[in-house]
Symmetry: C2
């Protein structure tokens, strides 16, 4: 429990109006979009890098945990302050500082909402590609900290592929800069990419430079409906093997389709076993050719119907269906546990089969959707956490889902991060040696373990491990 | 000086035929493609990861420096063993372990020559894009350690953008794995990208997984000739601003053109002030459109002549000209010092002007060529190191070139690395705080400072800095 005089000192740094300390105010800062919960001793809203630096100096001096937080829409517990201390809410550092149309980059504060940046650069004919489903809520800081993906990942990559420079504050309050605004840079260690995806455990990010690309001229979306999910899986593999790189290649299974239809009523085919959503973008002629080739592959692999979006409205409705997957599944039962297992793309069908087998064996309802083109699936268990017996089966199923992903050559997380949710599986993926290397980096940059302690690592990192 | 019994122990690990110890044999292992030199106590050729692990255990126990080395074609001194110890030559670990055409990745040992990988994956209709000018010599391990760029960087990025997984050996001999074979991965810290570009100072890389992409269907190369280099600089900016992304956008100035023509006699226009080389690739229709648009922009900005490569042979001759830039300049005078300053793309013209002004003021001959589309220029000073007075002017010029790059928002190195050549400029770019963060990472992963000591850092890294 933090001494109240320390909270007074924090208020002196950022101003009274930028500190919350009443218990009823703190309550809402204990959660993200997972089931995890914590309780900060106070919430601090810095508005400058200097604020963050002064907060960290104080925290370091008194060994107070600091958990940075954006919109808290994270799906792995990254922003949940499980050890108390300071919840450092970055939402008031929310300015777009520069959109450079000559050199194609933007500089933003971490509290900028991702969709706001996407919309602003679009006005200049530019694209910031990473588009997590939560993009209308989530912040750039959170997206960088968790290395968020999105629906355009297959062609355009994830957040990490766009971050080229950072300003950050070290555990001891020192302000440092990484990378820059050039497209190529190999001056020293890539501290930029080290911080992306590090979930607030190595430094607090206070400014982000991202590269931008010219917006594609044309795009076309289509939905392919399959009576058998195995046909959909084969289609994914064949599209990739054929050398096509659509911007988007998403999958939704029968349970997800029906949950979305229940919630949104937008005319999805309830009887389908799976849907694939494709978007091609780029030069108009290429888009036409690519879409035709995709349609052909879908039909050859047993798609029963193909719907092409005739205009932006229809396209939007296809995307709404996909983005509504998680919230729609979450409505079905009181508890909804979303996983993020990622496998090599040719193993998507095997992974889908494994998930179905696990669901059946444990008598659970698991809806699966995700970025099939990346091999990044989101098996989503809908259950009721008041039912202790069911939750035991859920735990076993989660365990087996990760085992299956690793067995197929995959990884624990494609885009949601490790946070609390997956830290106990880390050693299975990386072994004690891999964990030791990460642990040494953490201990070197945050020797007092005050930056988001308890995330990524189960065991407190130390240098000699 | 290493005790000869230690060299005997190394021979026991890797076999007698995989160790060199005679002074005349060691001599050639003291150089790379810079002017730096060192002298190893022995050269060890491991053929397995286990060999490397056993070598590192021994080196760690006896605090012996280990400098990993590929083809030693590096341009920043990275593989020069300046502190003696073991030169760890990775050239006998030179197998392509897997080319996966379903999931589009390849696994290779570090000694594989870059062009060999490019040629092998091309047989499967795939492309490994990073193509440093030295690709017919340099190894994958060296390219990864220095994060090599290449002529296709503008559209396709550099080595780092393709490395998705590594097997590496830590300073203490522990073998660890980073990343994996999936396209998305946010499980823990990105140790993969931390090792890429770390110049052998954090671990020894023994296996590399790179992603591959479908080879473009068509390509077209053209050469635009300018009577005034300022017109060429403006053309570069306008191409980028117009939303075009050619695969290649290279520049050669008058001095470089004439040096290449002297060496190769391939009909380059000696009277030109600058050449721009473009390559568009992708869908045939798009290539045609893009090439036409580039031609239009070149003409509008004063290009006096445009030559389009009619076939692969003509294309090859254009590329030969560009790749011959450095070796041709190196023939002009006994000493040739190549820099790697990189600026935001809109600042290419300003940087060219700055370099010319510096050359004139110091009475030096500087030929400039490079990846104009990335803002990555290679000002190349041709001089004679036996002339002490000239070399003083050279040193001042180098200093001013870096100052100019940093002043224009650039970076010390776009693709050659820091090594020995640029370490004394690092603090100017990153400040003491940025250096302290890198230094802590180094000290945490290599506490005895045995992995390529003296590279990147001027001051021996320690944890408390």
């Amino acid at each position: 429990m933090m001494d109240s005089s320390l909270i007074d000192q924090l208020a002196e740094i950022v101003g009274q109006k930028n500190v919350l300390r009443a218990p009823e105010e703190l309550l809402t800062y204990g959660y993200d979009a997972t089931r995890d919960e914590g309780r900060p001793d106070c919430v601090v809203f810095p508005t400058t890098t200097e604020h963050v630096s002064a907060v960290m100096r104080l925290a370091s001096e008194h060994t107070i945990p600091v958990c940075a937080r954006g919109a808290a829409s994270g799906l792995s517990g990254g922003s949940v302050p499980i050890t108390g201390g300071i919840s450092l809410a970055m939402t008031r550092m929310n300015h777009i500082l520069e959109i450079n149309t000559d050199d194609l980059f933007a500089r933003v504060e971490p509290g900028v909402v991702v969709a706001t940046l996407i919309d602003e650069v679009a006005k200049h004919g530019l694209l910031y590609p990473p588009d997590p489903s939560s993009m209308r809520t989530c912040t750039m800081g959170g997206a960088v900290a968790e290395n968020a993906g999105g629906l355009r990942g297959l062609k355009y990559g994830v957040t990490k592929d766009y971050v080229i420079g950072l300003t950050a504050v070290a555990a001891d309050g020192r302000v440092f800069h990484t990378g820059g605004v050039t497209m190529k840079n190999v001056s020293g260690y890539d501290m930029t990419k080290l911080l992306v995806g590090s979930e607030g455990t190595l430094a607090v990010i206070t400014e982000i430079t991202v590269k931008l690309i010219p917006a594609p001229e044309a795009r076309r979306s289509l939905m392919a409906i399959f009576g058998d999910i195995r046909d959909a899986g084969r289609t994914v593999s064949e599209v990739i093997r054929s050398g096509l790189i659509p911007a988007t290649l998403e999958i939704m299974d029968r349970i997800t389709i029906n949950a979305v239809e229940d919630a949104k009523g937008i005319g999805l085919p309830r009887e389908a076993d799976a849907l694939l959503l494709f978007e091609s973008d780029g030069d108009p002629a290429v888009v036409e050719k690519e879409a035709a080739r995709i349609e052909e592959i879908c039909r050859a692999n047993g798609a029963s119907e193909i719907r092409v979006a005739a205009d932006d409205e229809e396209r939007e409705s296809i995307y709404t269906a996909r983005r509504a997957s998680l919230p729609s599944l979450a409505r079905v039962k009181p508890t909804c546990i979303l996983e993020d297992a990622t496998v090599p793309r040719s193993k998507v069908l095997e992974m889908l089969n494994a998930v179905n087998e696990i669901a059946e064996r444990h008598g659970l309802v698991i809806g699966t959707f995700g970025h099939a083109g990346d091999g990044n699936l989101h098996p989503t268990i809908i259950c009721d956490e008041r039912d202790a017996e069911e939750m035991e089966r859920v735990e076993r199923a989660i365990d087996e889902i990760f085992e299956a992903a690793l067995r197929l050559g995959g990884t624990l997380s494609g885009e949601h991060g490790i946070g609390l949710a997956k830290r106990r599986y880390m050693e299975r993926q990386f072994g004690p040696e891999g964990m030791a290397m990460m642990s040494r980096v953490k201990a070197a940059l945050d020797p007092k373990n005050i930056l988001n302690p308890g995330k990524i690592f189960e065991v407190t990192p130390c240098l000699t491990s």
